[in-house]
Amino acid sequence: MVNALVVGGEGLHNAQAAAQALRMAKFETSVSHLNDLVGYSLDELCKKYGVLVFPGGFSYGDCLGAGKVLALKIRYALRWNLSLFASRGGLVLGIGNGFQALVRMHLLGADVSITHNLQGYFLNAWMKVVPSGGKCLWLKGLGTMELPICHQQGRLMIASSRRAESLRKMEEAGMTCLKYESNPNGSEEALAGLCDPSGRIFGMMPHPELFVRWTSHPEWTTQMTRASSPGQGLVIFENAYREAVQAL
């Protein structure tokens, strides 16, 4: 049995949806408020949980930049070294707002950040995304998927002074692991998600936890025979379960 922890509270609205996706993938899942985890050491985390998820939402009202304050909370209040957690066999997933926090913590590239969509307004759409590079354990063996995006600050950027070099290094390390088929927000290289060099810490702007049932898709009624099928987002969590079991 593998335990998963979803961090909630302070506007991380999708915690329950993420927890449901993990349960459907057979994890034993708990949801804990961010403030209740202060003082919870990394050792305790590693001992109890194989997977850590930072879900989507509107943490701290997106004040000071989406995911910024959540990143500060993780770094300074929780004091969790997520790279160490991953090196001890753990898996980390950041979705939407959670991904923004991981980016701002520079876990997914030192010269990478995330800012407002190029169009300057909120995007709400279903996008095709394509795994790339083969490094990310969460995306292992997966092909093109259609997933929902809902964000105002989803544009990934690389520091312009070192762009070419940073991008090359990230690609060589397999970190540029998820791309949009058609770039909706001006993200560098149409990037929709990134992973760390180990492939165990992964973050993405699209929301797989919001498409674990086929009936969540806006056009599902055109294919009624698939109504009982899982949504394409579920496979990401199922992948994680297989990896987590192997790591035990």
Binding site: G11, N14, F58, L64, L210, F211, P218
Partner: protein, 945 residues
């Protein structure tokens, strides 16, 4: 240490935010693109923190600056954070036109306005530095940097006051180039000056003697809103009653205090006038309808849970100047608070909205977008969004939000009561009438999390302290409030000012005496202020002290009775719904073409079409929380389905009917109810047996001034209620009634018709069998299901059609026995073939043509439709009727449906077929089409995207 920080995008990056802002401003200030050559938007922070310079530099670098894409200007604090010199000139020098002519517009919040960014900034400093900075201050604002040689103060002032700033919340100032370059805004004294000062509204003190009734009435007029002389007399009578008078004199009250008046006013606002409600009759009583407070419905959902729906939610009438985002956030937060207050902690799971306004003022799209954003911030999906456009609504935006959720049955079966010795706690943030989504979220989450620690909660906004405390006291046997400690804890100069302030982020809890430690500990861990302000007792009175001085002492029994709120209604013999004679027969010459009328109605710009993206028709209103969404509300069908429980296939469906009761109010009320019912049956709600859960909620907008002075309006209201009850009885459905919104006349000066809102909520037995309102496949057969009876009276096209000669003018009539059978078929309890339907779309007040158009646009398909020769085509296409749908079925299955409809005696009409090309062709009598509309170029106002 005092500091000012300005943060913006690096000069080589495109500023999409400011670009989007200027494009929006250009819709009204068309010359803007000629005078602004370059623009940049910077965040501004003012800080006064008990930290060292080194700590400030470290923390600022961590919190406020992202070197990947930002420059940060800090005076001389961190010069390396931007360009060569670290000053704003570096940015100006990167502008494409040099040397350029620059201006800045700086805006900040008015004193007393909630500054969520400032508060979050302070919290962030505390996180990074690892200690409390309770004596620190932080404030936020924006600096819009513009370049253009033709810019002048007049243009900039217009831009500031009309677009850049919300005048109710913000102030602004212009900074010429010389001032920008001088950098004195970074000086310590200037920062100290710029940081907002605390400010409280003050109560107006009582100026008059209570004994002199006439003077009392005259001078107190502004306070009493819509209270009549008789109502004020009721107050006077109570306080002059010998026993009460003697008691109060003994308690130290010479006369009623201003605080007491404030309490009565707040209770009056909250407990609105008792108007005639749709009283249940036997046909409407269901076993699954549970007892509830006025304005709420509680229905047994399944064996474990109940569904709670708030009918009133948040009703607002917003003047043209108020910003959409603020009012939308207030509306959404207010509806959530309303539900949580009355149901002691049910988990909200959806919102519904209704918007009303004048079409030519183009405010509704902004509200549509703002509501979606507000729901996004609160984390809940929108299940239904209706709007109504009419000239009579000019100058205002009507906004109604309601909320619903599930709760365990056990919670309602043992409803907790306030007990003597329960403590009264105030929990929340700063007093402010402007919502802060972060604190809203914290407070609302806390209400749910702390359920086991308290017996009752009131989440008050407009009522402020006094309204909130009084509401809580009404549920008890006595309450004693001590406000003396408040002054020291919040540092207010004027207690009266504090108590009179409305607040969006505040709740009052009746906390069990054994659970106080757990309650306060949790509140503090959730980042909320918590304060003990009193205790419940058995005195039968609501008493408030400020230290030793009593400032309010009111009888709870009398407050509950509230005689000053009673209106007396008398039924009238007059019926407003006289039958309308048909004015013309079909076949006469019509002076305008159908196409002309249709295109004009949809506000076509002759030169430019508003091209509609498919996503507007298949796109969804809910944002972050799509996991539970099954059928999303969109342009084609403004109703939706969610899956409220992860482990159950049962769906919750919500739909609406809206009516502007200009005439034939009895009939219009029935139509609104009928449309609401059909909107949920369309998506798969069950109907037809006593166990089927389908209920209705009704509320309405009307000016209370009109209501108090206009007998005709009162009668209209009565007729509306009569019409609703008639329809509900015929369909055997329970109705939960809301109330109207008082005080509308303060912003809504014109005469206006009554706006009736009816929501329907239902249960879908299995979400896999839901239907959506978009056409599916080429070759599918399109049918009309329902009686072929449509009338132009009551149609959305009615006004446009007034100028067309020779049209028949009728009001369609309901056929309730047929409706019951037809709805049972749609609702799955009669017949077997309804599963073969591929799409369904209820025909509403906009008629069959619009129903067809909206159902075709999403999938980008077309249709060929042949109308029967026996009916007037304009009536059929543009008219309004009862009990009708457009449906489709595959060709191979169509015979099954036709056979079953015939066997059951359900009227239907085969109209045509879905075709591949994107145009809708309507034929009537002739081989040449009567009307052809391209589904790609349907001229529909862009709404909210």
């Amino acid at each position: 240490m005092l500091s000012r920080v300005e943060v913006g995008l690096r000069p080589e990056l495109f500023d999409g935010g400011v670009d989007s802002f200027l494009k929006e401003a250009e819709t009204s200030m068309s010359a803007l693109s000629e005078v602004i050559r370059w623009a940049r938007l910077l965040d501004v922070y003012w800080l006064d923190l008990p930290v060292s310079r080194e700590e400030l530099i470290l923390a600022l670098t961590e919190i406020a600056w992202d070197p990947v894409f930002q420059w940060m200007f800090t005076g001389n604090l961190i010069p390396s954070a931007a360009g060569m010199s670290g000053q704003i000139e570096d940015l100006m020098q990167q502008a494409p036109f040099r040397p350029g002519t620059f201006w800045g517009i700086e805006k900040r919040f008015r004193p007393g306005v909630n500054d969520a960014v400032g508060r979050t900034l302070l919290e962030s400093f505390e996180m990074v530095l690892g200690r409390s900075l309770s004596q620190g201050r932080a404030a936020s604002g924006k600096l819009l940097l513009l370049e253009g040689p033709k810019l002048n103060e007049t243009i900039l002032s217009s831009l500031s006051s009309e677009f850049f700033c919300d005048r109710s919340l913000e102030t602004w100032s212009l900074l010429p180039e010389s001032s920008l370059k001088k950098n004195d805004r970074f000086y310590q004294e200037r920062i100290r000056h710029d940081l907002p000062k605390l400010f409280r509204k003050r109560f107006s003190s009582p100026l008059f003697s209570w004994a002199d009734m006439e003077r009392f009435l005259e001078e107190g007029k502004d306070r009493f809103y819509t209270w009549s002389r008789e109502q004020v007399q009721a107050l006077h009578t109570h306080w002059m009653e010998p026993q009460e008078y003697a008691y109060r004199k003994n308690a130290g009250f010479a006369e009623p205090t201003s605080f007491e008046f404030q309490v009565l006013m707040q209770l009056g606002l909250q407990r609105a006038m008792r108007l005639p409600q749709v009283e249940p009759s036997l046909e409407m009583v269901k076993s699954w309808v549970l007892p509830s407070a006025q304005g709420f419905g509680i229905f047994a959902w399944d064996e474990q849970d109940v569904l709670c729906v708030s009918v009133e939610g948040s009703l607002g009438c917003v003047s043209g100047e108020k910003p959409a985002w603020l009012e939308s956030m207030r509306s959404v937060a207010g509806a959530t608070r309303h539900l949580l207050s009355a149901t002691s902690g049910v988990q909200p799971i959806y919102y519904t909205h209704t918007l009303g306004g004048a079409w030519n003022e183009n405010r509704l799209p902004f509200f549509y977008r703002a509501l979606a954003d507000a729901g996004n911030r609160m984390g809940l999906p929108v299940l239904s969004c209706q709007w109504i456009e009419d000239e009579s609504l000019s100058g205002v935006t009507l906004l109604h939000t309601s909320c619903g959720g599930l709760a365990p049955r056990a919670q309602f079966e043992s409803k907790s009561k306030i007990l003597p010795l329960d403590r009264i706690y105030r929990v929340g943030g700063q007093e402010s009438e402007h919502p802060d989504s972060i604190l809203q979220g914290r407070l609302l989450d806390f209400v749910l999390e702390s359920k086991e620690f308290y017996h009752r909660v009131v989440l008050n906004a407009l009522g402020g302290w006094l309204g909130g405390l009084a509401s809580l006291a009404l549920d008890s046997e006595g309450a004693s409030v001590q406000l003396g400690s408040l002054r020291s804890s919040v540092g207010q100069e004027s207690l009266a000012g504090l108590l009179g302030s409305p607040s969006q982020e505040m709740g009052f809890f009746a906390v069990s005496s054994e659970k106080i430690d757990a309650f306060t500990d949790l509140a503090q861990r959730r980042g909320l202020q918590v304060l003990d302000v009193g205790v419940f007792n058995l005195t039968g009175r609501f008493q408030v002290w400020e230290g030793e001085a009593p400032i309010a002492d009111l009888s709870l029994a009398w407050l509950r009775l509230a005689p000053w709120l009673n209106w007396i209604w008398q039924a009238s013999e007059m019926s407003l719904d006289a039958p309308v004679q048909s004015q013309a027969s079909s076949g006469e010459v019509i002076s305008a073409s159908l196409e002309e009328v249709v295109l004009e109605h949809f506000h076509q710009d002759q030169e430019v079409f508003f091209l509609q993206k498919q996503s507007q028709y298949s796109g969804q209103m809910d944002h972050e929380v799509q996991g539970r969404s099954v059928i999303k509300p969109n342009m084609a069908c403004r109703s939706g389905v969610i899956q409220p429980k992860w482990d159950s296939e049962v769906g919750l469906v919500l739909g609406a009917g809206v009516a502007l009761a200009k005439s034939h109010v009895f009939g219009m009320a029935q139509m609104a109810l009928d449309e609401a019912v059909r909107s949920v049956l369309t998506l798969g709600a069950e109907y037809g047996s006593p166990e089927c859960v389908l209920a209705l909620m009704e509320s309405f907008w009307i000016s209370s001034e009109q209501l108090s002075s206009d007998t005709w309006k009162k009668q209209e209201l009565f007729e509306v209620q009569r019409g609703l009850k008639k329809a509900a009885m015929e369909l055997s459905l329970p109705v939960v009634s809301g109330s109207f919104m008082p005080g509308v006349e303060s912003v809504w000066k014109k005469e206006h018709p009554l706006v009736l809102l009816v929501n329907a909520v239902g249960r879908v037995p299995d979400i896999k069998y839901c239907r959506s309102s978009d056409v599916k496949s080429v070759g599918d057969c399109i049918y009309g299901l329902g009686p072929l009876d449509f009338g132009l009276l009551g149609s959305e096209f009615e006004e446009d059609l007034q100028k067309v000669k020779g049209l028949p003018w009728r009001l369609a009539q309901p056929l309730w026995p047929l409706a019951r059978k037809l709805y049972s078929w749609m609702g799955g309890t009669l017949g077997k073939q309804q599963g073969r339907l591929k799409f369904a779309r209820a025909i509403s007040g906009s008629g069959m043509l619009v129903a067809l158009m909206e159902s075709l646009v999403g999938p980008g398909l077309g249709a060929s439709i042949w109308l029967p020769a026996t009916i007037h085509p304009w009536e059929l296409l543009l008219g309004r009727g009862f009990h009708n749908w457009i449906v489709s079925v595959s060709q191979e299955h169509s015979r099954f449906l036709e056979e079953e409809w015939e066997a059951l005696g359900l009227p239907f009409q085969k109209y045509g077929v879905v075709v591949v090309k994107g145009s809708l062709e309507i034929f009537w009598k002739d081989p040449a089409p009567l009307l052809t509309l391209s589904t790609e170029k349907i001229p529909w106002m862009v709404r909210g995207t």
